[in-house]
């Protein structure tokens, strides 16, 4: 194993712990928007899909389609996740301003 791989595992553990404490503070009132927001974030796999799509040769149609699907579905995940979260939070916050 290379150093970077140890570092990545450490980053995984540290961010999971950080996330655990951050999210413990979210009231149950907001659990659905929290979950859809987290859901949007899980679409971050897009980053990996982008690289895959960019580096596979356009001649290899199967690989290209697979990578394309990965980009497509993770983009759907991100856009739908953030938009729907925004929609829900609007419902909670909307009329409290007056």
């Amino acid at each position: 194993m290379e150093t970077i791989q140890y570092i990545l595992i450490a980053i995984f553990i540290v961010s999971a712990i950080f996330g655990y404490f951050l999210i413990s503070n979210v009231p149950s009132l907001l659990h659905t928007p929290l979950m859809s927001g987290m859901n949007a974030l899980s679409g971050i796999t897009l980053l990996g899909a982008l690289v895959a799509l960019a580096v596979v040769s356009t001649n290899d149609i199967v690989k290209m389609i697979l990578a394309g699907i990965a980009v497509l579905v993770s983009t759907i995940n991100i856009f739908a996740g953030f938009s729907v979260t925004d929609r829900m939070l609007e419902m909670f916050g909307g009329k409290k301003d007056d």
Binding site: E2, V14, I17, L22, G37, G43, A70
Partner: protein, 456 residues
């Protein structure tokens, strides 16, 4: 772009996303938090394109544009009651993406240095990605009632699940040795993981969905993080880790609220709601007592307990109308929300917010349970197991030990349920036979409307 700049910027983005999540804990700032996260993800995409120097690969933008259009369309079309299946579906898409990225990584696509570590994590990403994808699709179909919400049981469940799990472990262990042809190897893994996921998810009943969705949410994060390990992407690893932790917390909360152990669910030890536990106990409380109008008139403090049945009957608007009417009559009105009142964590709050119920009137179980004993009137709409006092008294029933709303302590109780049948757990509700309980049976939309007219 140098490596250093890339890592500094990645660190900054991770920090902003964490700050965004921190803001999600307050209603006032939650929207800002969500926007911050969204902007950070956008920035992360640009950063990645720059790092790999692929900004001019036009094909990327075709797929992104298509995904964006579909995503936004889905988000604005979905109804709040369908939110659980929407989230499940999106989880599944995240899992599918991780599965593909993990698969590519096993072939060395996007990997700087292929070694045993990158092989092992790539295969783990494929396994978790497949489980997330297949499980989420089944959960979404169940929630959408395409597949029966009833648990479908497979014979020798524990044995099959253990065997499949073992095969997956072996696959992970032998992945660096490349004994079998890579493509065949991956296909076998995907097949095994799919079957694993199918027989696991189809045996989960509708009311257990909050746990399932939370778990799948967690898995979608973990799958992302692990595919990040495979391709050495720091942003993927960190953000996937956060999402994994978040899903895990919600899973924990849901398990606690339903009094079920996560390990038991995973091993198939719990009934999954399929046990029918009906006592030989007649519900005799039949007729509508005539003094309910008096009771209503004299009640000063009211707590409304909405259950999933309310959402099924689409009676949210009427509940809100009744609450407004009571407020006008100078009654204090609060809503008591059980953690599993809906089909996903926090679902009931969203359903009520949709009809403009003020979120400050919504109280979670721990906040309001002490207030029932000083409350004149509790109005239950479409809730059963979450108010059944047997959860405290009847050892051996499936709901025993499950935290409930202490509705039974209130002075008077009106229940607007469809019928007197036991709830999802199969346990008859001992509340129905109490003297201070008035049942209004039938479609909540009709019974509530009639009630509102009657007490005018």
């Amino acid at each position: 772009m140098t490596e250093t700049i890339y890592y500094v910027l990645s660190g900054l983005l991770i920090f902003i996303i964490m700050f965004g999540i921190y803001l999600m804990s307050k209603v006032k700032y939650a929207k800002l938090g969500n926007n911050l996260s969204a902007i950070s993800v956008f920035a992360a995409v640009i950063l990645t394109l720059l790092k790999y120097d692929v900004v001019d690969e036009w094909i990327i933008y075709v797929f992104i544009a298509l995904g964006a259009i579909i995503g936004i369309f889905l988000a604005y079309k979905v109804k709040m009651i369908a939110m659980p299946q929407m989230i499940a579906l999106l989880n599944g898409l995240g899992g599918l993406a991780s599965l593909i990225v993990g698969g590519f990584a096993y072939f060395g696509v996007g990997v700087d240095s292929l070694n045993a570590f990158s092989d092992v994590v790539a295969i783990i990403a494929v396994i978790i990605g497949t489980i997330t994808f297949v499980g989420s699709v089944i959960a979404a179909l169940k929630l959408h009632r395409v597949i029966s919400q009833k648990p479908i049981k497979v014979k020798f469940y524990s044995g099959i699940i253990s065997l499949l799990f073992l095969i997956q472990l072996v696959a992970i262990a032998i992945s660096p040795f490349r004994i079998i042809d890579k493509i065949i190897f991956i296909i076998i893994i995907i097949l095994v993981s799919s079957i694993f996921s199918v027989i696991f998810t189809i045996r989960i009943g509708g009311a257990d969905m909050p746990i399932t969705i939370s778990l799948l949410n967690s898995l979608s994060g973990v799958a992302g993080a692990i595919s990040g390990l495979a391709i050495g992407d720091v942003l993927l690893v960190a953000i996937g880790g956060i999402v994994g932790a978040s899903g895990l917390i919600l899973t924990e909360i849901m398990c606690k609220a339903m009094n079920k152990g996560l390990i038991d669910i995973l091993l198939g030890k719990t009934s999954g709601g399929s046990v029918t536990y009906v006592e030989n106990e007649e519900v005799v409380n039949e007729s509508v007592k005539q003094d309910f109008k008096e009771v209503y008139k004299n009640s000063k403090s009211v707590i409304i307990v909405p259950g999933y049945g309310m959402a099924v009957a689409q009676a949210q608007q009427l509940v809100k109308a009744l609450a407004d009417k009571m407020k006008k009559e100078h009654k204090t009105v609060k809503y008591a929300i059980h953690p599993v009142a809906g089909r996903m964590p926090g679902h009931m709050n969203v359903l009520l917010a949709e009809v403009n119920v003020d979120y400050e009137d919504l109280y979670d179980m721990e906040m309001i349970n002490d207030e029932f004993k000083q409350t004149d009137l509790v109005i239950v709409v479409g809730g059963n197991d979450v108010i059944n006092p047997k959860a405290k008294t009847h050892e051996g029933t499936p709901i025993y030990g499950m935290p409930i709303l202490d509705v039974d302590l209130a002075k008077d109780i009106f229940i607007f349920n469809y019928d007197k049948n036991p709830g999802y757990s199969g346990v008859t509700n001992s509340l129905y036979n109490k003297n201070n309980v008035q049942l209004f049976l039938g479609d909540a939309k009709e019974t509530l409307q009639k009630f509102i007219d009657d007490v005018k």
